[in-house]
């Protein structure tokens, strides 16, 4: 167990050696690679952390065992009695109504009753479930680049493409906790088949693996280290490789069409983009901002800003806590939910 009260996740918070007083939220961030947990304070700091690898290829009970191990570490913290709610951000799809999750990359969990299982371990505290894109959005709205924005799209562009929405100043999780799934809107209705079953989805064009695949297909070759990842394509693009640049430009075009669609549908003032692919920097953000002007042409949509996310790998935990705090009305109006 890590106990790191000085680990400020607020980008603009000062140093503070003592954990703050007040109510806490226990947060879980559940993905195909790791299961992270934390006790989160009302100022967004992670006071206690725990973590396990996700046994993603095992049966459902084994995966739940890893969640229980993370919760067990948190439960043993002397701070646990101050916990008032549990927030879960999970890889999707989720069903917040049924309290179940079916993460694509965890085949042992299909309609798995995660909320009931977590409630059983945490003594009947309220448990709030949202998708991981919604959680990331709650975090960026509370503490990051979407802070103070009443209408925002936040996205993670990484192995997949996910997202979430802030509408009218509040997190819009949607009835089942899945709103903001921008990765699976089709921007190319006759395009390549997507594993989701549709065609031409934003993720099918703009995710890291698709950026890398396209670059290789168009003739880019990795260096001596054999690294054919999107990160390696980004390095080549920054060095001026035209094929690598073109692959990022195509991803940017798809992201621009998706952001413009979101702006036309719900009116957003900002799109915040995080995840590994966003780390490519200008080779992504430059063409993205340019193409957004091509697609977001309506007067009320044309001013959408594009900003990099400010929270890093803790966004899932911070956001799960924010979503839960908002849902049970903890922490006044400071949290994003």
């Amino acid at each position: 167990m890590d106990t790191d009260p000085g680990d400020a996740v607020r980008p603009d918070s000062g140093d503070c050696a003592r954990p703050p007083s007040g109510d806490l939220v226990a947060a879980l961030d559940i993905g195909g690679t790791k299961i992270a947990g934390a006790l989160v304070a009302g100022d967004g700091r992670l006071l206690v952390r725990a973590r396990r690898a996700t046994p993603a290829r095992e049966d459902g009970a084994t995966v739940m065992g890893a969640v229980a191990a993370v919760l067990g570490e948190l439960l043993r913290s002397p701070l646990w009695p101050r916990v008032r709610a549990v927030g879960i951000g999970s890889a999707g799809p989720v069903d917040a109504v049924a309290g179940t999750v079916s993460p694509v990359n965890v085949p042992g969990w299909r309609g798995f009753p995660l909320v009931a299982e977590v409630a059983r371990h945490t003594g009947g505290l309220p448990v709030v479930l949202v998708g991981d894109g919604v959680a990331m959005t709650a975090a960026e709205h509370w503490q990051g680049a979407a802070r103070g924005r009443d209408n925002a799209l936040c996205m993670v562009v990484s192995t997949g493409v996910g997202g979430g929405l802030v509408l009218g100043g509040r997190l819009h999780a949607g009835p089942t906790g899945n709103a903001g799934h921008i990765g699976h809107i089709s921007v190319d209705l006759d395009g390549a088949p997507c594993p989701c079953g549709a065609r031409g989805c934003v993720e099918r064009i703009a995710s890291g693996p698709n950026i890398a695949r396209r670059a290789v297909a168009d003739g880019w070759r990795p260096g001596p280290d054999g690294d054919a990842s999107a990160e390696a394509v980004a390095v080549a693009a920054r060095a001026g490789d035209p094929v690598a640049l073109a692959s990022f430009a195509r991803a940017a075009q798809a992201l621009a069409a998706g952001i413009a669609a979101t702006a036309a549908l719900v009116e957003i003032e900002v799109a915040v983009i995080g995840g590994g692919v966003a780390g490519a920097g200008d080779v992504l953000f430059g063409p993205l901002r340019s193409r957004l002007r091509d697609y977001a042409t309506l007067s009320f949509a044309s001013g959408v800003e594009v900003l990099p996310a400010r929270l890093g790998s803790d966004a899932g935990l911070v956001g799960a806590a924010a979503a839960a705090a908002g849902s049970v009305e903890l922490w006044g109006t400071s949290a994003a939910g």
Copy 2:
């Protein structure tokens, strides 16, 4: 001036010869062809009507003169003293924050201060402005096919393609009154240029004029009457003409991709479709429902229903009234706003 207290616009209302008592809303529906007005009761009936052709090619003051003439008829009604608010649904774009409108088909109005002008004529009553797609949505939510649905997309497919959203049980007009602009989301990012400046917009593929244009380009020929409208293409499609059927199928595909995108982004349970093209019936709705299964593949999106709109040409007036009533909290919770 028409005074028709028996003109029930609630599809399921009974006959009623006496106008209901209680507060009224004055509604305006402003389009490129006509300017309609009505006094609307809390049960959705239009008690007094007025109407002028839109002098769309004249200067802004002349267009406003037609609005003032419509308002003048309403103001002279003995029912006017019961009016508590004015609702305007206008062809877009609109700017509900600035109170201005810039209808594409009314070039004399660019950033025209319609709210201030209407307020000047109506003695300081609250004036609520929304786009026409939002107004139609308010009407269908209050009285039509989206009644009782907490999350819905309503669309008009006609000369253009517009729409609006109900989210969490309430009309979601967006900060500037333009949310739900599904006609200008790109579902074909490399597709044909759209007059809006983008490419491959839903409207560019699915509007009536584009259905007709595509059928003619692909070899369909109008009958002896020379009617080359989408309605004529629909007649041919119902008679089995393969080119006419294919043009409707392509429109249906674009609409399906747009509806699926909306479901992924904000979680909707139903898409309600009105407007002249929806009158084509099964030649549109059949392939639309089929293609929606291809694009709306995520678990939380796959159950979206597609329903024809229930309100006809009065939807703009009923919806403008509902949006205003909701905004100023008239009529309890019965209106859609």
